[in-house]
């Protein structure tokens, strides 16, 4: 029996789109990092072209990602590929945290696990608290509309940290899973 025409069309359309998407992704990947002279932001006639470091020269050595500027920045830190300075002033206290926050009210999506370790490896507490987020877990209203408008997590994610197309990197905790059970009834675990 032949499949229903509309269903067959939908299948064809989806297959065509997948092929297009794959070809497109391959083209973007193959294009590599744009050079300063051709990135459309630098003046190609400026005297700095040829003096400043090119993105490809620096970024090609770092752990690769499929999105953003195609670097896994936290992995680059963890693997010791880069060791950016954490302070330039002598009296600055570098604050690191390891606690994790579970955001449970995510509708049909997996719950969100916020890891302090990865964030404080780059940021200071004051970068998020108390301007973007209250210190008390659950006290701040966060939703995807705000984030997509460049608020809350969206101040960085989508601009300098991995973009909002990578849903599962934040929405990573399945309800009823071992990872969810590790939080018990709490929102935070040390």
């Amino acid at each position: 029996m032949r499949p229903h025409p509309s269903r067959r069309n939908r299948g064809l359309r989806a297959a065509g789109c997948c092929a297009f998407a794959l070809a497109g992704a391959a083209a973007v990947w193959a294009a590599g990092w744009p050079s300063l002279a051709t990135d459309g932001v630098h003046d190609p006639k400026g005297p700095a072209i040829g003096v400043l470091q090119e993105p490809a020269e620096a970024l090609a050595k770092l752990p690769p990602d499929t999105t953003g500027n195609r670097v896994r920045w936290v992995r680059a830190l963890d693997d010791g590929v880069i060791s950016p300075r954490s302070a330039v002033l002598p009296d600055t206290q570098v604050r690191l945290r390891t606690s994790e926050v579970l955001m449970r009210r995510t509708g049909e999506m997996n719950m969100v696990r916020f890891p302090h370790r990865e964030h404080t490896a780059w940021l200071d507490c004051s970068n998020c608290h108390d301007q973007l987020f209250e210190r008390k877990a659950g006290a701040t209203k966060v939703n995807m509309f705000l984030i997509l408008s460049g608020e809350k997590c969206g101040v960085c994610h989508g601009a300098v940290a991995f973009p909002l197309t990578e849903c599962a990197r934040c929405h990573s905790v399945q309800r009823g899973s071992v990872e969810a059970a590790a939080f018990g009834k709490e929102l935070v675990r040390p």
Partner: protein, 133 residues
């Protein structure tokens, strides 16, 4: 009720837009992810706008150095950076002083942008919302 699913045309359009802007027409702004263009005064002052590359700086300094110690607010456009401040050792001048990095007299190494470009964060469709100016 079936859950709402985006048409497959949506990711395809995004990919094609990305290829079109970064592959075929390199003259359109498709800077490196997170590049900030500062042009509040540069054009009017007759110099090229400043391009701040996040990727270059974060290899050498953690975010907290500039966004906590140096006092740069995280919202692009929220910082009013004047050359006088830089020369006084504030903001960029904390490092761009001829010791840690090149000094303020090397105008052309920071003022590298295309004239006439509006201020903002550049680098792909993902940045149009977040990092709004």
């Amino acid at each position: 009720m079936t859950p709402w699913l985006p048409s497959p045309a949506v990711p395809m359009a995004l990919v094609l837009a990305c290829v079109a802007t970064c592959g075929a027409w390199p003259q359109d702004a498709c800077a490196e992810y997170g590049d900030v263009l500062l042009n509040k005064r540069s054009d009017r002052a007759g110099v090229r706008p400043v391009v701040f590359p996040h990727w270059f700086h974060r290899i050498r300094f953690q975010c907290k150095v500039c966004h906590s110690e140096l006092g740069f607010k995280m919202r692009a456009g929220a910082n009013d950076v004047l050359m006088a401040d830089i020369i006084d050792g504030k903001f960029c001048g904390m490092c761009h002083n001829g010791q840690v990095a090149w000094g303020a007299e090397q105008c052309d190494l920071c003022h590298t942008g295309r004239r006439g470009l509006p201020s903002g964060i550049y680098g792909g469709h993902e940045t149009r919302g977040p990092g709004k100016w």
